[in-house]
């Protein structure tokens, strides 16, 4: 126990000071100063972020932090988004909800990402957390509209319900009816992922009509265009709106109603949706365009010139998501019109086609990098790139924090020189000192990894595919990137050496994913034996690893640090290489 001196603060004062420290990172730092700070801090921590739900157990969290009001949990590895993680892998939220139900009755916020959420979990949430205000299910799955009905009925204080990108079993659109007539506190509703065309529209209208604080409404695709005007007229205070399907026969009454409705939304700053959009109805949003800071057209099959014309009307844009129909010409217009642009994402309209269907090349990105001085975050899918372009981009945008380039042909070289793209990406990491996230693609040798290890000191997340030639590449990254937290690798010739030589580094990271690489079973076992605070999970759908030779490469490998030990909810195709496993076979 800390000896109280004349100079030590009473606990209440420290607690009051801590209440101003909101950042989780700072809180963590404060808790390490001394034992009494640790104690005080843990009693007054209200918000927790668990980046890997298997890194710690709910019991441990509850034991350390007795009074949490807000929790964020992440489950599956990022590559699950691209179908690399088989169904049944894990990431179940029920054990967390069950434990928290008893320990945190005052829980207000639950945010989950890539987790398996069942109707049972949602029913338990509704029953246990009467004060729940925020429920965000980002890229989750495993639940149906029945679970949502329970939430609607049970969470009287719900302000935010966000189902973004989740897979929901649409059993009935009538779950919206379960919000009682007395419920008026909705502020944010995102149902854009729901597929059912039976969403009870009248219930939605009534809900929107009785919630005066509704600021964010993202509809699902099935809401027809002619219904939107009515909805908007009930919620002119909206700041963010996502349409449903944006296609319909052109009818002047629908058109003018829509135009008027949009015009009356004086605070609208963000638009999305636009599924199946037809150019005829685009001008109805022109009245809003000058105010728009965020525009998501990535589901809209609109092409130039309509697309470019729309973009040119939005000078305040900070965030732009669009399909590659925008082409280089559209991006040039974007570059000259939108000087506040911070984030750009260009998605492929035909990712699996062999031939380019649009004229989108590296030139578009170069133009935006040149014209938009505040550009910080890029996700760009295209079919060709050159080192020269990447160098120019890097020089134009030293403030990049996120740079993700995806060349549709994963091992394509510089189209002008036929060289690997090492120099280009090297320039990115060299100039962009604050780069936190990087995704590589194209033909890349070990050189690019040397550059990354040398320069990317703030890099936290690196995604690599079809790159490199040897273990040296992996070694450069593991030994050089001091801030690295997440590393995900697919289809690279990286093997045991770099991994074993940098085993200690793995304990400083959240996780490492390697699939279709050359890591041998023997190396996994060795890591499992020597590193008890790492969970070494080998995923193989062909059969148990002990039926194979030590030198056989494993199909998929997921390594993460954990204080909770190996997990027990693994499906048959996942094996943990822990001490027991290794000794069973020796």
């Amino acid at each position: 126990m800390q000896k109280k001196t004349a100079y030590s603060f009473p606990d209440e004062i420290l607690e009051h000071v801590f209440s101003f420290i909101q950042s989780v990172k700072d809180r963590n730092a404060a808790s390490l100063v001394c034992k009494s700070w640790y104690e005080i801090e843990r009693w007054c921590r209200r918000k927790i972020f668990v980046g890997n739900c298997y890194a710690v157990s709910p019991t441990m969290v509850i034991r350390r932090f007795p009074d949490i009001r807000s929790i964020e949990l992440k489950g599956k590895p990022h590559f699950a988004d691209f179908n690399l993680v088989p169904d049944g892998w894990g990431g179940y939220v029920l054990p967390w909800i069950s434990k928290m139900a008893g320990a945190y009755p005052w829980l207000e916020e639950i945010r989950l990402k890539r987790m398996v959420v069942t109707d049972e979990s949602l029913e338990l949430v509704a029953k246990s957390f009467t004060n729940l205000q925020v429920l965000v299910l980002f890229s989750c799955e495993g639940f149906s509209t029945d679970g949502l009905a329970a939430i609607a009925a049970g969470c009287k204080n719900l302000r935010e319900l966000d189902l973004r990108d989740s897979e929901v079993d649409d059993l009935s659109g009538h779950w919206l009816n379960h919000f009682p007539d007395t419920y008026t506190s909705l502020v944010s509703l995102n149902i854009s992922c729901l597929g059912s065309d039976d969403v009870s529209f009248s219930a939605l209208e009534r809900l929107v009509g009785r919630c005066p604080n509704l600021r964010r409404l993202l509809l699902n695709r099935e809401v027809p265009l002619d219904k939107i005007a009515n909805l908007l007229s009930r919620a002119p205070q909206l700041i963010e709106f996502g349409t449903g399907t944006y296609a319909a026969e052109l009818r002047s009454d629908v058109y003018s109603n829509l135009a008027e409705a949009f015009c009356n939304c004086k605070e609208l700053k963000s638009l999305s949706g636009f599924w199946d959009a037809v150019p005829a109805y685009l001008p109805v949003i022109y009245s809003v365009c000058s105010r728009l800071t965020s525009l998501n057209l990535s589901y809209a099959p609109i092409q130039n010139p309509d697309l470019t014309k729309l973009v040119s009307q939005c000078p305040s844009l900070q965030r732009m998501l669009v399909l590659d129909y925008i082409e280089d010409s559209g991006l040039e217009v974007l570059a000259s019109s939108c000087k506040d642009l911070q984030e750009l994402r260009v998605f492929p309209s035909d990712p699996f086609g062999e031939e380019p269907n649009v004229s989108l090349t590296e030139k578009g990105l170069v133009a935006v990098s040149s014209g938009c001085p505040k550009l910080q975050s890029v996700l760009y899918f295209c079919r060709q790139m050159s080192n020269a372009a990447l160098v120019t981009i890097a020089q134009n945008c030293p403030n990049f924090t996120r740079f993700r380039l995806c060349l549709l042909d994963p091992k394509i070289a510089d189209y002008r020189t036929l060289q690997p793209l090492d120099v280009g990406f090297g320039a990115i990491v060299e100039h962009c000192k604050d780069l936190r996230r990087l995704s590589l693609s194209g033909l890349l040798t070990d050189c690019v990894f040397e550059y990354i290890g040398m320069h990317a000191k703030k890099l936290e997340m690196l995604s690599v595919a079809f790159a490199g030639e040897s273990d040296l590449a992996l070694h450069h990254v593991l030994s050089g990137c001091e801030s690295l937290r997440k590393l995900e690798i697919m289809n690279c010739p990286f093997g045991d050496k770099a991994l074993l030589a940098n085993a200690a580094k793995l304990e400083t990271m959240r996780s490492l994913w390697m699939s279709s690489c050359s890591v041998s079973l023997g190396a996994c076992k060795m890591l499992g034996q020597k590193m008890p605070r790492l969970n070494i999970e080998v995923m193989d759908e062909k059969g148990p690893p002990d039926s194979r030779a030590e030198s056989d490469p494993v199909d998929k490998l997921y390594i993460y640090r954990s204080v909770a030990g190996p997990r027990f909810d693994m499906p048959p195709f996942v094996w943990t290489m822990d001490e027991d496993f290794a000794s069973e076979l020796s």
């Binding site: 990172k25 390490l32 296609a247 199946d276 699996f352 030639e469």
Partner: protein, 235 residues
């Protein structure tokens, strides 16, 4: 930043690393080749050209796949059969000993992403892929004046006049008005005797018009069908 786990690092690496001598550890990588026999050297002209050809649908590569699988079994021994990389067409052309069996689609079964190429590449979210297919189909339908379905789903909504509940049927299971009508009558419990006479089959086409199904050939009907309505016959 996540929960501080308070881990202390060992002061020296478990496996001291001096000079990484790539030739002396574990199994050898073949000269100039990655473990899957793919040329990972700098001059990747062959790589990039064959990469683009390999990105096409997996079903087409079904035949070549059998051939490649055997190659790897004999030469490399280290590559499990289910890895999709096996089916890249980046192969040396000196093993033409097997006839290409174009009917063999067993290898395409291992493409976990519906035969659209390499698993996990390009990294497009599954959610977007579904949407994109529909977007592309909408575009195709708009461009083509005949054929082409407005969405990749073959289910169409069916309503009956006087009946509040809409149903859905899989239109791809039918190839004639007879089979469609029979199914619809069964679905809505219309007896055979009266059914044919008292109900007419109408449909909404892509242009937004309601048309009588009996007025058009089956192909036209299928090509522009959006949804179906059974209305009571007035005559």
């Amino acid at each position: 930043m996540e929960l501080q786990l308070g881990l202390s690092l060992p002061s020296t690496p478990i496996f001291p690393f001096k000079m990484l001598d790539l030739n002396s550890y574990g199994y050898e990588l073949r000269e100039g080749l990655g473990p899957f026999g793919i040329n990972v050297n700098n001059n990747c002209d062959s790589c990039s050209s064959s990469c683009s050809s390999s990105s096409s649908g997996g079903a087409d590569d079904g035949g070549g796949g059998t051939k490649k699988r055997r190659l790897f079994d004999e030469e490399n021994r280290i590559v499990p059969k289910t890895l999709p990389l096996l089916f890249w067409t980046n192969q040396r052309p000196n093993d033409e000993d097997e006839p290409k069996d174009v009917d063999d689609h067993s290898s395409s079964a291992i493409f976990k992403n519906d035969g659209e190429g390499l698993v996990g590449w390009p990294p497009v979210k599954a959610w977007r892929k579904k949407v994109r297919r529909r977007v592309a189909n909408v575009r195709a339908a708009v461009e083509n004046s005949c054929g082409g379905r407005a969405s990749s789903s073959t289910y169409v909504k069916v309503k009956m006049e006087g009946n509040a509940i809409a149903r859905k049927i899989d239109i791809s299971l039918h190839h004639s008005f007879e089979s469609l009508t029979t199914t619809l009558m069964r679905m809505f419990d219309i007896s055979d005797e009266n059914g044919q006479k008292s109900f007419k089959l109408t449909y909404l086409d892509r242009e937004g018009d309601w048309l009588l199904a009996e007025d058009v050939p089956w192909r036209t009907f299928i090509g522009s069908l959006k949804c179906i309505k059974l209305i009571r016959s007035r005559c």
